[in-house]
């Protein structure tokens, strides 16, 4: 099998991830932060170690790392906790539904208004677009670090600097950027970075994080047990417990912990260089077939490559690849506005993306499979 659906979730995971999850469940999975017996402390230590690793990676103190179920939950919490009633939220025109839907929902309830800025042009042009799009009551800007459709990368540091200057709360959807690019919430003036464990951090599914740039407290979104301040009916007024109601998943967090250690030994820049080579090879090979429409950026900006075959739907192509043992993803990738910009708003596109485990040989096999599919299409029935 060849697995190229890594932008959706990386597969396989490093062996250490499943080993640690299994070990956690078998050996030390007490309830973290609820008791003080040996298993509870061991679980809490593992979770704290993971907070430290994430804090080091993204430039925040460990207590600013909040665990959630996934990036979508992280974004929902960040958006709904910090939006200001009746004020304006600015997003980009290539956002994932995990950004658009929670904000549109708030707008439908007349709790806020929102609009989008255009991501065409270079970094300065994008910044100009943002400046033109903000209003007197824009109090939040939420955008992707790099798009999950076509790898459009936004100038996050520049946007962060601008937001800081204007006192705008800045939320970044780092679903496709975390583990691929260096992200530092402090240096980039990001207020809340929302990321998944299961993509380029090579951790398990069912786990996401908010990395807060500073200890800013908004309204709590989920309420419940936290293991502290039990007599109070409000959630604690400090991080991370304010946003962590209920028992955390020690097995998943322990798996991520080992994934992060493994990533440190390899270095994300080396992984990105490897993936970039695969991306270039894929672009070169796919470009040679005139039946393949390639939607590629001028420069490598992340781990997704989109294409279509003339006269075939993306779903059909993906299905035929699957029959040849190649995993890809077709359709709209939960980002219809990004597809509109790519001119694939009607049928979507096939998306491939690479991980550290993919090889050049797999790219050749994939290209051969595509060429076969195109040849077969030409054959009379």
């Amino acid at each position: 099998m060849i697995y190229f659906d890594n932008p959706a979730t990386t597969f396989p995971k490093p062996q250490c991830v499943s080993d640690e999850i299994s070990s956690c469940i078998k050996k030390y999975c007490g309830n973290p932060g609820r008791s003080s017996h040996i298993l509870s402390i061991k679980s809490a230590e593992k979770i704290y170690e993971t907070r430290c690793l994430l804090g080091d990676m993204f430039g925040a103190p460990p207590e600013n790392v909040v665990f959630t179920y996934n990036t979508t939950y992280a974004l929902n919490i960040a958006i709904k906790s910090f939006f200001k009633p009746r004020e304006h939220i600015l997003i980009s025109d290539i956002e994932h539904n995990s950004v658009i839907r929670p904000i549109a929902s708030l707008a439908r309830q007349n709790l806020c208004s929102y609009s989008s800025f255009c991501t065409d042009g270079d970094d300065e042009k994008i910044l100009d677009n943002i400046k033109m799009s903000i209003t007197d009551n824009t109090s939040m800007l939420c955008c992707t670090f790099v798009s999950n459709v076509g790898s459009r990368r936004l100038p996050i540091k520049k946007i962060g600097d601008f937001c800081k200057e204007r006192g705008i709360f800045f939320i970044v959807d780092g679903a496709q950027g975390a583990g691929v690019f260096d992200i530092n919430v402090k240096e980039m003036n990001i207020d809340a970075l929302c990321i998944p464990a299961h993509k380029a951090l090579y951790g398990p599914q069912g786990l996401g994080m908010i990395i807060f740039g500073a200890e800013k407290l908004g309204r709590s979104i989920f309420e419940g047990g936290t293991g502290v301040n039990s007599f109070e009916t409000e959630m604690p007024d400090f991080l991370p417990e304010r946003y962590e109601a209920g028992t955390l998943s020690t097995p998943l967090i322990s798996g991520l912990c080992e994934a992060l250690k493994w990533l440190k030994t390899i270095n994300i820049n080396s992984i990105r260089a490897h993936e970039e080579q695969l991306y270039i090879t894929a672009c070169d090979l796919l470009s040679t077939n005139e039946k393949i429409i390639l939607y590629k950026m001028n420069e490598y900006a992340g781990n997704t490559l989109m294409f279509n075959i003339q006269g075939m739907s993306s779903a059909t192509v993906s299905s035929l690849l699957d029959k040849r043992g190649i995993c890809t993803r077709s359709g709209f990738h939960c980002a219809p506005s990004a597809h509109k910009k790519l001119n694939t708003g009607n049928g979507g596109a096939v998306r491939i993306g690479f991980s550290v485990f993919n090889t050049q040989k797999e790219i050749f096999s994939f290209t051969e499979a595509l060429n076969e599919i195109i040849k077969d299409k030409k054959k009379p029935i």
Partner: protein
Amino acid sequence: MHIMKLGIKGGDFMCVASLRSMTFAMKAKRILQEKGINAEIIKLEPHMTHNGCAYGIKFDCINLYSVQDALTKKHVNYTEILNL
């Protein structure tokens, strides 16, 4: 700040710094470990807390000033340091 002396262990008084969460108890423990100070995370007795469940770190009172200094320098706010 308060310090709680928990009692006598081998002739030494034990102190407890009360922290706002398990996360901060973990942070405090690591900071003290880096300073070569042994500390143990404990769940505080109900009479030691004001708001229900809370955690603290227990250490030898002989290290009291070093503990206060280390935690303050790293901006770890302990709600109380208690001694008995």
